[in-house]
Symmetry: C2
Subunit: 382 residues, 2 copies
């Protein structure tokens, strides 16, 4: 196995483009400088295009979970009623954070592999007065994406704030923050945004700022009020990851150059090709057809085979890393991410390596069939 | 098409591993320093493993052709008899350089796509007294490699010096400089050595040094005597590309870590897979079976199709760059390099992109068939 020649296909951290690494290698700048302020301002303007929002977008120096905690810690006071819409591991994490801040959490679990059922949300909102609703845009643990537009339309009719974990979605999956009435949207650097881990981006609506003012929970580093005070002067409350900021701007520039609609179309195409390949190989997708995330394809391990054994061969023989199943799904599924810095050839690599690994394990299948199905999708069904 | 996501598959420059770029990004060091001397010494020790020689190996700051010129300019005086064994474009270039230094060049052209016929060499050496014999280890223009061991055994029986252009071969194709009696071996940084272009490495045998002492041709920057004087103090006559030196050491370290026999086996495996794929798709290899280079696969353009049109689609739709045919082969062949920083997945990418491009051009073929043939080679025929 060659050093350095590795194919990382997990839902974050994801591969980083050379242009982003180049930007990160620029000389370190001081954060209390005009240069930093100008860069922060430019970054926010570009993020507002991606988020489709006029809201403030605070860039925090921590990974995604820190961003999720900031959203909760600044809005949920002890005893506050919280509705948590859970479709997998990351939905559970969001609920867990709310409980850590002594929220009175009403956790609704949808079947893993399915998305949030809007009828259930409607019913819940009718019968309860929540202060905060927690939802996950893209649930990478199950390869499912949720209908944030639909959830937002329902929550928007109530007084509750809608907090969305867009950590693995934003940048690859369209989000209309303002139109869909998302009060706090959180994303992070290491997924579809094509950066190393270390930054969280948090947009806050005017309605959310009103609630944040009344925050009683203890917090300091994750204080959005402190962040906002500095943000108004294009600065940060505490030392920001200046190199990651530089990389973030470079990544955003790549996305702007490609065009956001092309970025989303690319992810959908990769997903469609991966799905076609999986079916052609006689394997089963884990997520329900209508809920499948365009950013990650979750596949059921073949009968009697541990998915983690497939993953070992993939890594050892072909340098390809897929993600495994989490919690109760361990060994039962494996997941191929195609988010961020990914294109057609990554799907070809993933599928051809999967074919070879399965054959290596003695599973009868015709190699090349999955690749062919992906190729046909890429050629537009021809 | 995504920025930055491109697959370069030409026979040099080739992709550079991150570890090499990282080494090149280290702070610039002065070249008249102990640090540089120590680095040069270490590099030469590692190059001697790759070259399989005890000879001096001078590292010159110029690309491969400069190294070839240094070999010729320092050994060929006006009127000297030179035997040039030509199997393609780069063999022609070597002969052209010898003529530029007014050598009396006996150029023997073998059919393009075939390797040097040892019987012809034997005959030539019997009937003539040459001062210098020029040969190409790996002729990338036709995807052919020559039997340097066989040529060396014949030339070694005469007084002639054997000068070998190993620019595209060394590092991917085994060479036994001492055992095969190669007097001057030239290679360059940007092929199987996995570096950007800018360095040539030239090994010189004791016998060659005797001849070089008598050199009468004009040269200065390319003077091997000047280089040798500095080399004996682990220095260079003129300013060396210090960052490329640092990268060269990192690349050599990667090769040592993999093990040279594994490096050669990897290249052979990639070549075997590419050949199998080409045949499975009903395409024709350009080089004669027994002469095929393990570093580059030359393929005949299908009847009535211009290879350069295939290459345009490959680049535009899939970000994949193959090399075209040179001189009289323009449009008639195209070439896939799998040298240096290349592994199994690069062949899969090349073949799947080729399949899609041919179908896009209306050529009837079953996509996935070529990929399957490559996969079978990778799995050891299972």
């Amino acid at each position: 196995m060659m050093q350095d020649k590795q194919y990382l296909m997990i839902p974050g951290p994801t591969p980083v483009p050379p242009a982003v690494f180049s930007a990160m290698a620029r000389p370190i700048i001081g954060h209390r400088t005009e240069d930093f302020a100008e860069m922060y301002k430019r970054i926010v303007e570009k993020l507002q295009v991606v988020f489709q929002t006029k809201n403030d977008i605070l860039v925090l120096t921590n990974s995604g979970t820190g961003g999720m905690e900031a959203a909760v810690a600044n809005t949920v006071n002890p005893g506050d009623k919280v509705l948590a819409l859970v479709t997998g591991n990351f939905g559970e994490r969001f609920a867990k954070i709310a409980r850590a801040y002594q929220g009175d959490v009403d956790e609704v679990n949808f079947s893993w592999g399915e998305s949030v059922d809007l009828k259930v949300v409607e019913e819940k909102l009718k019968n309860n007065r929540y202060k905060v609703v927690l939802a996950t845009q893209n649930e990478t643990s199950t390869g499912v994406c949720n209908d944030i537009a639909g959830i937002g339309a329902l929550v928007g009719k109530t007084d509750a704030l809608l907090l969305v974990d867009g950590v693995s979605g934003v940048g690859g999956l369209e989000i209309k923050t303002d139109e869909w009435q998302v009060d706090i949207l959180v994303t992070a650097s290491q997924k579809a945004m094509m950066l190393p881990p270390g930054l969280a981006m948090v947009s806050v609506s005017p309605r959310a700022w009103e609630v944040i003012k009344e925050s009683k929970s203890p917090h300091f580093y994750l204080s959005l009020s402190a962040a906002k005070k500095s943000y108004d002067k294009w600065n940060t409350a505490y030392t920001p990851g200046v190199s990651l900021f530089a990389g973030l701007e470079a990544g955003l520039d790549m996305m702007m150059a490609e065009g956001m609609s092309n970025v989303y179309a690319r992810h959908k195409l990769l997903s469609k090709a991966a799905q076609a390949a999986v079916k052609a190989l006689g394997l089963e997708l884990f997520a329900r057809e209508d809920s499948i995330s365009p950013l990650v394809t979750a596949i059921k391990s073949p009968e009697g085979i541990d998915g983690d054994d497939i993953r070992k061969i993939l890594k050892k023989e072909f340098g390809v890393t897929f993600a495994g199943g989490q919690s109760s799904l361990k060994g039962k599924i494996f997941r191929i991410a195609h988010m961020g810095f990914a294109d057609k050839m990554d799907v070809i690599i993933a599928i051809s390596a999967l074919e070879m690994s399965l054959v290596r394990m003695g599973i009868p299948l015709e190699m090349g069939k999955g690749v062919q199905a992906a190729q046909q999708v890429f050629l537009g069904g021809k």
